[in-house]
Amino acid sequence: MWSFFHKLGSPPWLYGISGSILRWLLPLTLLALVAGMVWGLLFTAPDFRQGNSYRIIYIHVPAAVVALAGYYVMALAGAVNLIWKMKMADVAMKAAAPIGAALTFIALLTGAIWGKPTWGTWWVWDARITSMLILLFLYLGVVALYEAFDNKEAAGKACAVLSLVGMVNIPIIYKSVDWWYSLHQPASIKFTGESTIDPSMLYPLLLMITAFYALFTCCLLMNMRAELLRRESRTNWVRKLAQGAGRG
């Protein structure tokens, strides 16, 4: 167990293992994304109330779900860095922020496009949408704050504190559709009780949610690898890699 944590702190080990994970996870992710999109766009019946516009659900919901999950990853990595000063946690936190921002952007944008034919408006300042916008600003805030510091150790600490404080927004996003009267529909998939979505629509949606989780993992690992090389540029293993890449 401890040897695992010890290895986790070793950049060349992490670089190697993430490379071998990506070799199979990345193609699988792309396959799942394409399959899910084709399934949702071509092989499901339209919603009886919303018509074909509901097909946006297959990207909107997965993006939003993983944008929230990604925030946990970022804040948790920040906390680990603060408490145990694990450098790899700092790398993970920095890597998670831009992906989370991109996913939140997708959720907001597809939501706006879905809102136009369904609600008759691109945007409403309701609780769910506003709290998601705050999530986007939190992600962008972490990215910007990291760049603002010359001392990267201080940057890591400041970003960890920012992301931990921002955690307060997460339950607000989850509960916003229940706490406030809103245009946004409540969750269709429930862990407890019956889901209010037909299985023919549920399965492609679950596939897309899985695909987006895998996408987040792939991007996280790839961002971490790029960051690891930058931080370790003076070490022998990175120099050997660079010489190999220079020849190729």
Binding site: L42, C219, A226, R239
Partner: protein
């Protein structure tokens, strides 16, 4: 397949413009977040390789590894 023709698929009873725009932008964003780290990594390795070559070529300042 639900749609009878390509035209129907593109039009989606008037919702086509919304649905396709949403999907195209999403695919573009996904492409960016997948390609950006790979480009960054490749660019960094190439730059470092160049620096190392220069260091090795220059006999007056040997590499510090």
């Amino acid at each position: 397949m639900y749609f009878q023709s390509l035209n129907e698929l593109l039009h989606m009873d008037g919702h086509g413009a919304f649905v396709w725009t949403a999907y195209i932008i999403t695919i573009a964003v996904i492409a960016v977040i997948l390609v950006a780290p790979l480009r960054r990594q490749r660019g960094f390795l190439r730059q470092l390789a160049g620096e190392l070559r220069r260091q090795q070529g220059d006999a007056s300042s040997p590499g510090d590894n």
